[in-house]
């Protein structure tokens, strides 16, 4: 096998000009595209939006959060899954002091929480991290991610511009940039940097919402949450979060067990996840009790919240007012899990689950099912 013969010096010279011209034009066009993206920077990777109102695109947390982590001014981070999206930065700042940024992301895994916080911590010393722990984030392997989370643009989670090409040379990003320049608002986004991911004002809360499409006998049928094992959860916590606590002794980590509705715990009981969850809470306490920079706040036995389904959008997601109570409790040192309270918290929660797992207990929370139709009324 041989190369096709060279067609002669004239074609070789023409080829030389052609190659240089095509390559030059290609690189010039790509360079122009990259420069345009850097200038507009719709995901705020190089600078915060200042020439135009920022666009926090619907469900683009994984693209925009690293930009906020790198460029926003803050010393306090709120980190959690979708349940923490309704937390306003200024409220955190007012209650906890300092300047805050909310870097929550929906269906967050422990590895994503680590990556997000490592990005923030690599950039500046942090005074405090309010870190809301979801049981589901520790499901599966240590690097497990939920399929629904979509791809994770890891290249944005550092300061290395040479790996940013998927952002700089992306037609999707160019289109977003162009729409910003034109003032085209056809995409769904919010513009309030104080509440970038806030959705509490566009959905309804209440008992009807919570019970919508819910099979009380099989609560997980709607949510399809994965089964967890204590070994898997421990491995994930040790791999993803403990190194963060140990590596940043000057940062205070406030771990928070969020107040899911008591129906979540009923779901855990229905699919044999109750003991695993309680064991994991105990493990987290034991694993962090010697770390001076880690504190734990637990709101999961606060029946005033968890038994009032009017405060929820579904069995997991609570109203913005509860986000504020969570932040207040955390920063004011209420509901702290300590050696003297850990047993009592667990006993209370276990008792609440036992109670709600009875017809009368369940009826007290969601109302009684109609004998004829089976429909739950109150």
């Amino acid at each position: 096998m041989e190369l096709p013969p060279l067609p002669g010096p004239a074609v070789e010279r023409a080829s030389s000009r052609w190659f240089a011209g095509v390559l030059g034009a290609t690189l010039a066009l790509l360079g122009a595209a990259a420069a345009f993206v850097v200038w507009v920077d719709p995901f705020q990777q190089y600078h915060l939006a200042s020439r135009y109102p920022p666009r926090f695109y619907f469900l683009h947390h994984r693209y925009i959060d690293p930009g906020l982590a790198k460029n926003q001014v803050y010393d306090t981070v709120v980190s959690g899954s979708s349940i923490m999206e309704n937390t306003r930065n200024d409220f955190v700042a007012r209650v906890c002091g300092g300047a805050a940024v909310n870097l929550s992301m929906p269906a967050m895994s422990a590895s994503e929480q680590r990556l997000m916080l490592a990005t923030a911590l690599a950039d500046r010393p942090l005074k405090r991290v309010i870190m809301v722990l979801d049981f589901n984030e520790f499901a599966g392997g240590v690097d497990e991610r939920q399929d629904v989370a979509g791809p994770l643009p890891r290249y944005l989670y550092d300061r290395n511009p040479f790996n940013d090409l998927p952002y700089l040379l992306s037609w999707d990003v160019i289109v977003k940039s162009w729409r910003i320049i034109r003032g085209d608002t056809s995409e769904k986004f919010t513009s309030d940097p104080n509440a970038a991911w806030f959705w509490g004002n566009v959905v309804r809360f209440g008992r009807d919402q919570v019970l919508r499409g819910l099979d009380i006998e099989h609560l997980n049928a709607r949510y399809q949450q994965p089964q967890r094992t204590i070994d898997g959860m421990r491995a994930s916590f040790e791999h993803n979060l403990l190194p963060l606590f140990r590596g940043h002794p000057d940062t205070e980590f406030d771990l928070v067990w969020p107040p899911y509705s008591i129906l979540v715990w009923l779901d855990f009981a229905q699919r044999d996840q109750l003991q695993v969850s309680l064991d994991f809470k105990r493990y987290v306490f034991e694993a962090t009790r010697t770390l001076a920079n880690v504190r734990i706040t637990d709101l999961q036995n606060d029946a005033a919240i968890t038994h009032d389904v009017r405060l929820y959008h579904d069995i997991y997601h609570f109203a913005p007012a509860i986000n504020e109570r969570l932040v207040e409790a955390t920063c004011k040192g209420r509901s702290r899990v300590e050696a003297g309270t850990v047993d009592e918290f667990e006993r209370q929660l276990r008792g609440q689950v036992t109670e709600v797992n009875t017809p009368a207990g369940l009826a007290a929370v969601i109302g009684a099912p109609d004998r004829a139709t089976g429909e739950v009324t109150r």
């Binding site: 096998m1 030389s16 469900l59 979708s82 629904v148 791809p151 040479f162 992306s170």
Partner: protein, 470 residues
Amino acid sequence: MLFNSYEYLIYFLPLSLAVYFLLGRRATWAVGWLVAASLFFYGWWNPKYLPLILASIGFNFAVGRALHRRPRHARALLACGVAANLLLLGVYKYADFAVRNTADLTGLPLALPHIVLPLGISFFTFTQIAYLVDVHRRKAQEPSLLNYALFVSFFPHLLAGPILHHSEMMPQFASATNKRPQAFHLAAGLFLLAIGLVKKVCIADPLAPIAAAGFDHPEAIPTLTAWLAVLAYTLQIYFDFSGYTDMALGAARVFNIQMPVNFNSPYHAMNIREFWQRWHMTLSRFLREYLYIPLGGNRRGEWRTTGAILATFLLGGLWHGAAWTFVVWGALHGCALVCLRAWERTGLHLPRVIAWALTFLFVMVTWVFFRASSLPAAGAMLRAMVGANGSGEAWAEALRHALALDPQASALAGALAFAVGLVVLALRRNSNAMALDFRPTWPRGAAVAVGLVWSVLQLGKVAPFLYFNF
């Protein structure tokens, strides 16, 4: 590293090319650089598998040298060498398949080893088996480990072929002229690379979600939608593989290396034999030279020929993947070739249009087995194609249905890919023909620049969180 990635197109290829030509006056350094670059290319995905490919290269080089030096023990050495390669392939590619089937047959609770398949192992193993056989046949010999390492690891063919013959590559690697930049080949290579990138990124990739959505739910889609999903896959697999091959040939060409053509408008074939003469041509060549002919070929009677054809296609099917779907796919193609031979003996001829349509239809329907996740899934898709799930929808409705099957996919990109793909398939001249008589004209240059820019900009998709109905 994939050809259709930023790191390859923007960093790796230009850098490896520039340094190669800078070192061109020192042949050993240039070859050494290209080997190092190729191993880096291979290790980018997972460096854990670098020792595997290095060991494979070292082992086969040693066996090749021994074959050359000890002709008296050649048969035993060849048998050992080929067996070791097949064992490697067997362990990494077929262990799970074998254990699962053993467990199914015996009822034993055997645990699957779950061995991750190293990239390109099927290709570099077959390349080296061919080398050992060629050395045994006195058609090849390689005294330099570095040159041999380059022959096996040269990055344009490492992951997805073409499957090379030592004799067609080594003279090119040895040529001093080829280590100096030649503008004509640079231009022709860039041209071919651009065609391949456009095929892959602008045609194959937008079709993938349409095919996937159909194949993911074959039990729920009506007839026309099922046919559209299968057609989408028929186009996708061709443009994906031939696009990747064009990029490989283009990348080799800028290094002044001509690799063998792997696709020659296979969907223009008038019968299934011609299809295999046009589809993945270097695999067909390998199977013919190193399996079909050693099994007797067509010189030992019809029954032996039939057996050789079926065995070749069964193993060829299994080479594509460790699943019964691939075995069935290979068996169907083998049976089709046997039927073709019987038909040819009758002396009857079909009109060309009918011959083409039958061939295309057969290839398209058999892709169902290639793409389906299991035999039951393939059965469900075939049932959907014959109307088991209802067949009342209109064409326009079916097209809308197919394009909207995956909410994350762009319906416009999918429709365009369908249209452009069908038009390109119908073209008389394919990318190889265009590269063969390449001339550096400016309209062609503008098309290449636009194609490159547009394709590169399509690589970085922004895909948000998918689940929002919490």
